[in-house]
Amino acid sequence: MNHARIGKKIPPGVSLEVEFGFGAGVTALYGPPGAGKTLILECIAGFARPDSGRILLNDAILFDAESRVNVPPRRRNCGYIFQRDALFPHMTLRQNLTFAARRWPRLERTRRVGETLERFELAGAGASRPREIAAPQKLAGSVARALIGEPKLLLIDDRGLDEALLRQIRTVTAVPILLVTGDLDLCCAAVDELIVVEAGRILQHGAPRAVLDAPDSVAVARLLGIPNLFEGTIKGLDPGRNSSLLECEHFELAGPYIPGHFRGDRVWVAVRAEDLRVHAGDSETRANLVAAQLIRVSHRARSVRMEFAGGILVDLAREEFEQRKDNKNWQVEFPPEALRVL
């Protein structure tokens, strides 16, 4: 069992209070800067000492505040990849790996270092010092150095790891990986569990797709980048027709039935910007079609974001926007299946 319960005061007046288990796959810690993600990794690695709690790795106690057990970092066998490059600058890449492979006899060590350099396509850079190699090679070198010692857990701080390298790591080792990242695409593509952290607390924990599709709270929705959040009142509920009616400040929305709520309850409605549709003109009147005034347009790498009055944000494909950009009047459609009630 891998489990961490960590309590730590972080001056001034902030504290980290988290408890979570993690399995053999990749677990991502996601949250804004200053949420405590790196501190969680440091507590597990032994670089920071929690004030309270318990940390178990493969059922072995790494830290227990009550029994005053605190295994030093060098005995925890946790590979750590830092946010910044931490390859030893006075050693070549091969020497960096050799340093990490010290526990094997000389011949075995040499073989392992050679194999690891080959596996991460670093054989050509083995004789180079870190300052002489490119950033992607440095990252691969850091990963190789962390893995050559066969750690029981791999901790990766937010280092811009891409999906390909993460998959490569999974082919090399089956150890649990705890990853700090701000990349939701990476979470969806290559992560087994997602933990959303904010201000030293875990807000939600689950499979990435499940968390993204059903955020528990407005805070999680905001952190996951859902920009359309409207507070409203449940005006109608019909379980027979599987429908509900929500009254927001500027418009009414029809959605699916909301279990566990009553008429008159205050709720939040979350809708992704890419799930909304826009229509030209203002003559059409049907459910969930809201006339809105376009305030601003901002061009993004792959889409165009349209900002309407009332805080409605819509992401359109660039081609679609080019076809409609001369419209004077706009209507925004809220598809019922896109509404998430929090």
Binding site: A45, G46, F47, P72, P73, R74, R75, R76, N77, C78, G79, Y80, F82, R84, A86, F88, P89, H90, F99, A100, R102, R103, R145, A146, G149
Partner: protein
């Protein structure tokens, strides 16, 4: 008349030996002040800083005066006085040089299973070697220049 090089040779030997001993003591003091918590840590740091602002001949003179009552001034006495004078300088330099290192290197080494000694000898010391060598060079030059003067002053202590 042949030149007598013995005075220069003695000064070089004394300054060299005092610098070497001071470097070891300074490294230990600097590392301890940086990494260990103990009662009187601030007082020790203050004493080292005070020793830095006092002119080396005065520090050496009082050190020799304290020892001169026990034994006559010898090369060993001069080395001891030199160490008392140079060790604070090197302790401060070591503390600064080691403190300026990115802590990620030490953490990385520990996460790879390295002991404190291995982290120190293989990572921290090589990375801090340049500023430490510069500080040792300065300490040697300072001792070489000032021990001669001290020897003249301290000569009065010998019976």
């Amino acid at each position: 008349m042949p030149t007598d090089w013995s005075a220069l040779w003695l000064s070089l030997r004394v300054a060299g030996l005092a610098t070497a001993v001071s470097l070891v003591a300074g490294l230990w003091l600097g590392w301890t002040l940086l990494n260990r918590r103990f009662p009187g840590k601030r007082a020790l740091a203050a004493v080292l800083s005070a020793a830095l602002v006092l002119p080396a001949p005065i520090v050496c003179y009082y050190a020799l005066a304290a020892m001169g009552r026990i034994w006559p001034v010898t090369a060993a006495g001069l080395v001891s006085a030199g160490v008392i004078s140079a060790a604070p300088l090197l302790a401060r330099a070591a503390r600064t040089a080691l403190g300026a290192l990115d802590p990620a290197y030490g953490k990385a080494a520990r996460s790879l299973g390295a002991s404190d000694w291995r982290v120190w000898s293989r990572i921290e010391l090589p990375l801090a070697a340049r500023p430490l060598a510069a500080a040792a060079g300065m300490a040697f030059a300072r001792l070489l220049a000032e021990l001669a003067a001290v020897r003249v002053i301290a000569g009065r202590l010998t019976p």
